[in-house]
């Protein structure tokens, strides 16, 4: 589904953060992405999300060369990807419900057609009571769960999650992991960037480890 060939990334004139990345992410696959702080996990996810261009190498996504995509082409492609940002990126002026429903709204869907679905998902991630709350008053873990709900609501073909359990307790972390596994079973490829060794031990999956700019794959 996604193929990286000799991809390299540097920011500005800095050192190369990612070097010679060559790997593929198959449909239906599930993988953890790990590595020390500052290793480039977030940067790699941004490459996968097309919000960053590699300084060299070739990225093929859904059979299209990422470099040749137009801006609207990128927008269309992103509708097939769900992403959970490390810093959540919720819109502060919209309720939890509206934040989660945003991808569907952008798709132009009628509110009546997705309302029940959004509400049910919010209940399921434990935000049933916070539906009308605005992000600034949510606790850290609540924000994180809202961000996850937004990423999965449109049933993307690829789910990218950056440290999705950094702000929740281990119990809740397991529950969220189950959500990702379930999504994967229904056909979504999942990439989870995490430092949480306990979480990775929960589920036996492929591991992509970033170290000093290089990627080591443990299938």
């Amino acid at each position: 589904m996604i193929v990286f060939e000799n991809v390299g990334l540097r920011y500005g004139l800095g050192p190369e953060v990612l070097r010679d990345l060559t790997f593929r992410i198959d449909g239906h696959s599930f993988q953890f992405l790990t590595g020390p702080s500052g290793a480039g996990k977030t940067s790699l996810l941004r490459l996968l999300f097309l919000s960053l261009r590699p300084t060299r190498g070739l990225i093929t996504m859904f059979d299209e060369d990422a470099a040749t995509l137009s801006k609207d082409g990128r927008a269309t492609l992103r509708r097939r990807i769900g992403i959970v940002f490390q810093d959540f990126r919720l819109l502060d002026h919209m309720t939890t419900y509206e934040n989660v429903a945003l991808p569907l709204r952008v798709l132009g869907r009628e509110e009546a057609t997705y309302r029940a679905e959004v509400v049910e998902l919010l209940h399921w991630v434990g935000l049933g009571e916070r539906i009308d709350a605005f992000p600034p008053i949510l606790s850290g873990g609540e924000k994180q769960r809202a961000a996850i709900a937004r990423a999965v609501i449109a049933r993307p073909q690829l789910l990218l999650a950056d440290e999705p359990t950094g702000n929740v307790d281990p119990n809740l972390g397991q529950r969220l992991l189950r959500l990702f596994i379930e999504l994967n079973k229904s056909g979504t490829s999942v990439v989870i960037a995490t430092h949480d060794i306990a979480l990775m031990d929960e589920y036996d999956a492929r591991r992509l480890v970033l170290h000093e700019g290089r990627l080591h794959v443990y299938d």
Binding site: S51, K71, Y97, P103, L121, L179, E182, K185
Partner: protein, 329 residues
Amino acid sequence: MSTTEPLHRGVEVLAEPWDDLETGPLGANGPRLATAIVPKSSIAGSSLIAVVAIMAFLAGLTAGAVSMVVSAASDWRSDVGHEVTIQVRPANGRDLGADTRKAADIARAAADVADVRVYTKEESARLVEPWLGSGLVLDELPIPRMIVVRLRSGAPPDFAALRQTLAAQVPSATLDDHRRWIDRMRAMAGTAVAVGIGILLLVLAVTVLSVTFATRGAMAANRPIVEVLHYVGATDAFVSGQFQRHFLILGFKGGVIGGGAAIVLFGVIQALNAWVAGTPGADEAEALFGSFSLGAVGYLAIFAEIVLMALVTALASRLTVNRTLERVD
């Protein structure tokens, strides 16, 4: 898993700390909906409205003042332009009365003349009264006689021919077609219009600049929102549409406030003017500011400007939004 089946259906329900929360009531009104994607408050709206309103007010004042000057000038011109006067001066050895009658007959015979009126001796004397004082014994004074010739509207008659005939037959008569005054008024009105257009262009330039700045500011302030929209798959058209809406409304509001204020101001002045009419200050004010009556054309011009302001605001913001979006990803 079908697309309508919730994706977490397959997960067995765990006893989690928040499970009891789920039984709590929904928000009193159910989920909140349809919040504008770009928050109104984020686009420095009030200060932009203020700028647009000020500019619309200025534009309105200018248009009103220009339309007043132009209409006063054209009233005056059409009054004066439809009349010429013939002055018959007393001369040695000539009969003033006969000369006057003859001149009047010549005028009557000319083409396009609607009406000829000969001022009586008394009327003529009254014209010079301010300079000679009243109470003069008229017979002693060789006062020139006036003939007012009203013209048919349309093409002005051939003054040159009339002037020539008069010179030949009544040498003591002179024709005054007010050409100099009319030219003066025309130049004055032209100057007023030019100055007005200059001010309008300035005002529009300032408006465009302010709106551009404000739009850029709004885009910068809403950068996180723009990013998130892109991240959830929104196209540029969708994003710019979110901003567009606000700015059109905003420009329209500013235009209505400013233009409305201008209209109200003209109305108030006109009312005040009617109220003080006849008091000693009134004619001075009138001398200074003209008659203060804004015709339908003036009001129309102000309305047109309100629309113009809204359009300019919307256009300037559209350009800025698109230019900014091209650079953002």
